[in-house]
Amino acid sequence: MQIIAAIALNTFREVLRDKIIYAFFVFACLISLFGILLGTLSVGQDIRIVEDLGLAAISLIGGIIAVFSGANLVFKELERRTIYLIFSKPVKSWQFILGKYLGLASCLLTIILMMGGFLGALVGFVDPTSPANALTHLPWLALSLALVYLELLFIIASASLFSTFSTPIMSVLFTLCFWLVGHSCASLQDLAKMSTNPAVSKFFAALYWLMPDLQSLTRVRSELMYGRALTTGGGQGELLIYLTTYILAYVIILLVLSALINERRELP
């Protein structure tokens, strides 16, 4: 446990002491500010525009940081040969992978919370006339941010899996492909249904079953933003719980695979 915490803390420090993170952070804030400008142009819509733009910026910036830091997660230790230092101590492969993962996950949590805090303050600022009105937005905002974070958890797990056996550039490409497929998995299902050839149909069905279903995340998020129908019936609450469990299970499988690969391979 202490070992995992130490590796996580080291990773956390490494990512947060990297100046480039702050450049991204400022960028996300600027985009949200830009939302205010747009909001003043379209009367009555301002809060929604600020929220939409802000959330989009946060998920984009979070995604970029997740993909690149995730792809470098194990590779950097290999390249700089600090991995010899770690594995010449009584550290197990799964402890290393889990520590690295948790470190990056807590970094992203910090970043999301900071950007989310900024966005929340902005929303309050845009609607100073009725603070109560602004307050009703905050739970939705928080929930949407949680969904963004859930997706990032998935991204860093797949990036770390790829980074155990390939170079960062390849890992970034693999992760982006995986991510895209996850977002279009409904079309896989459609393909499976459409195909007349049973073998092809089975293939697409299997592929759909294997691939992560990230599309539902986006769907729930947009329903949250526009329908705001979470309170109507328990259906959506259940869906949220289901999605969370599903993504976390997927993350665990990816991490177990990374640890197994890391255990098997010989250090260069």
């Binding site: 130490a6 420090r13 990297d18 700089r80 230092l85 009584p90």
Partner: protein, 268 residues
């Protein structure tokens, strides 16, 4: 028989017919970089493994630490096979040309390494304090290691290898790349460790240091151990010129031998 064994010095590092092949990055050609190495090092001994660059010294250390898997033969540390990585808690390791996380300060780094050994926090704190004194890094230990000079990094590397108060130390080229002053520092530290009764295994191609520090030297050329004898047999009274002659004579003889037997390399 058993009475005899009680008094016999304990073998703490052992290699039997240790053999390792590596694939060259170019054309994936398989070459034998370590060929049938036998070693027996006793508790409290200081053993120097010398040999030209590329002889297989680093490979030997990595095999002994379980960082690489042997293709044939076996390596044992403190009686257990290295591949089981059981005794790493009692081993310290200084890698060749060490790089430590440049985002950490010296103190943070040593604390991190202490945690990899699952040591209690207060013990880590007191060890870090005494170790930075031992390696003369008291003033620098709160600066990021990215700002350290080569000599400071090497001393920090020795400190991290000592954080668990190991019985056995593996040092890969502890003095190469240092200026005379830096080398003197490292030599002084090694003398102290030797006086404390630690078993030290180190790789070097710097013969004066080997002659001064070691009880026994092994000479590795092209993956083969061509000589293994007490230093006192070679260089009486620390006469390093004799050690140099010994080195040159054996290396040249070994080079000739491999040249003559190229067509059937197995027979040498």
């Amino acid at each position: 028989m058993t009475e005899f064994l009680v008094d016999a010095p304990q073998v703490v590092i052992e290699a039997v017919n240790l053999t390792k092949d590596r694939l060259s990055s170019f054309l994936k050609k398989r070459t034998r970089v370590l060929d049938g190495l036998n070693l027996e090092i006793y508790a409290g001994q200081t053993y120097g493994l010398i040999g030209p660059n590329g002889a297989g010294k680093t490979t030997t250390v990595k095999l002994l630490l379980g960082l690489l898997r042997p293709d044939e033969g076996e390596a044992k540390v403190l009686g257990a096979p290295s591949s089981e990585r059981e005794n790493l808690a009692q081993v310290g390791f200084l890698p060749e040309n060490p790089y430590f996380y440049s985002h950490l300060t010296g103190r943070e780094f040593l604390t991190f390494v202490g945690k990899l050994f699952s040591l209690p926090d207060d013990l880590i704190k007191s060890r870090v304090k005494s170790l930075v004194e031992k390696v003369s890094l008291v003033d620098a230990c709160d600066k990021p290691t990215g700002k350290y000079s080569k000599g400071m990094l090497q001393r920090l590397g020795i400190a991290q290898a000592l954080i668990n108060d190991p019985k056995i130390l593996f040092l890969d080229e502890p003095m190469s790349g240092l200026d005379p002053l830096g080398r003197m520092d490292v030599r002084r530290i090694l003398h102290e460790l030797k006086a404390e009764g630690k078993t030290i295994f180190f790789n070097s191609h710097l013969l004066p240091d080997v002659g001064e520090l070691c009880d026994r030297v092994g000479l590795l050329v092209n993956g083969k151990m061509v000589a293994d004898s007490p230093v006192s047999d070679i260089a009486e009274g620390g006469n390093f010129k004799a050690l140099e002659d010994f080195f040159l004579e054996h290396v040249q003889a070994a080079m000739h031998a491999t040249k003559d037997s190229k067509p059937h390399a197995e027979q040498t």
